[in-house]
Structure formats: C-alpha cells, structure tokens
C-alpha cells in the first residue's frame, strides 16, 4: 500500500472573496513543502477562484505573510480582501 504524505491547510475566505467563491472555509490537501502561492493556485482552480487578484493579502495562523511563506500541516491560511477598517 502506498501512502502519500500531504499537508492539510485550513483555508478561510472573507467578505467579497467568500461571496465570489461561495464558501467561507475549505480544507486543501497540498504537497509537502507547499507555500501560500500553492494554496492560492488551489483556490484559483475552484469555481469563482479565477476572480482572486494576483497577490491577495494572506495571513497564516493570525499573522500576515507573503506568497512565498511555507505552510505546515494544520496551518490556517486566511485570504483577505482589501482591508477597510477605521
């Protein structure tokens, strides 16, 4: 039996992005060593995902990260529309 190791990332979507993809949360099984960019590519392949901008704001485990940040199994990745607080 062959088992394939993978990295499960809990992706959260908010506001306009949640509306465009029609979901607020999805678990993605990514290859080990995956980065934020890989998770974004996964989202872009979903219905409505092509509407995401090239470099959206992202946060890993409640802190801002860039697209090249590494993801570990169990990480939470939030994809954040342009901020509008204040």
């Amino acid at each position: 039996m062959v088992t394939t190791a993978s990295t499960t990332v809990h992706i959260l979507l908010f506001a306009s992005y949640a509306e465009r993809l029609g979901l607020e949360r999805i678990d993605a099984a990514l290859r080990p060593g995956a980065t934020v960019a890989d998770a974004l590519a996964y989202l872009r392949a979903l219905p409505g995902g092509a509407e995401l901008p090239a470099r959206p704001l992202c946060a890993r485990n409640l802190a801002h990260v860039g697209a090249d940040a590494a993801l570990a199994d169990g990480d939470e990745l939030a994809v954040l529309p342009p901020l509008a607080g204040g």
Binding site: A15, R55, L57, A84
Partner: protein
Amino acid sequence: MPFLTDTPLDLAGLIAEVTAPDRGGVAAFVGTVRDHHGGRPVVELEYSAYGAMAEAECGRIVEDTERRWPVRVALRHRIGLLAIGEAAVAIAVAGAHRDEAFAACRHVIEELKRRVPIWKRERYADGTVEWVGTGQAASLTAPGGRP
C-alpha cells in the same frame, strides 16, 4: 478587554483608561460613518472582521506603539450595522507631553487601516450594496513572523 465590539463606542471611557497624573498630553481620534462614498449617498454600513486575527493585530499595534513612544493606548473598533455619524473606531493615547501623544495616535490609526482584517459593506440610497476596500490590498509580511 476585546478591541472589537458590537456596541456603541465610548471615547470618554477610553480616555479614562489611559489618563494618569504623570500623563499630561491626551490625543484622541474617532472615525465616524460618512454619508457619502465616491459621490454616492450612503444610508448605512456594516463592518465585519476576521475576529481572532483582528484582536491579535490590534494587540500587536498597541504593544508596538507603547514600545515606540512613552504612552498608553486604548483602542476599540465597532463591528455590525452602523448608522451615519456613528463612531466606527475610537483611539485614546496619553503621554507626558503632546508630541508623543499625537504621533502615537496617528500611528495607531494608520497601522489599523494597514493591518487589521476588517471589512465594510455600504448600502446606498438607491438600494445597492457593495464591499468597500479602501485600505491595504497587496501582500504584507508581519515583522517577527515566520519567513
């Protein structure tokens, strides 16, 4: 005390939180809901947030500000449905003198707009509703975070 609240903001309460006998300079900022955006009349506005991260980011902003200037900072942001004129954000900063109070207060609101995951949806007089993105849109990296 959480930074996000669904009840009206109390600036006097925030000023009381930071005021002390050795802090003679108190600066405050209040951001309220405008009745127009892009030339269109706005009738109401709804704020939503990624709550856990918004709390964490507000905590980091307050800590960083209190480390950078000799001040105490109190900060609250409203979420939920707001009417025109209601306060969306309130900040009070107290220091020994006005220079650090003004500088730190300005820093807190600019960092909040740049970092804190809060969104607003405006309802216009013609009945349409839109998400408004006015702040940071491109990717940010947190200082001290994992690379």
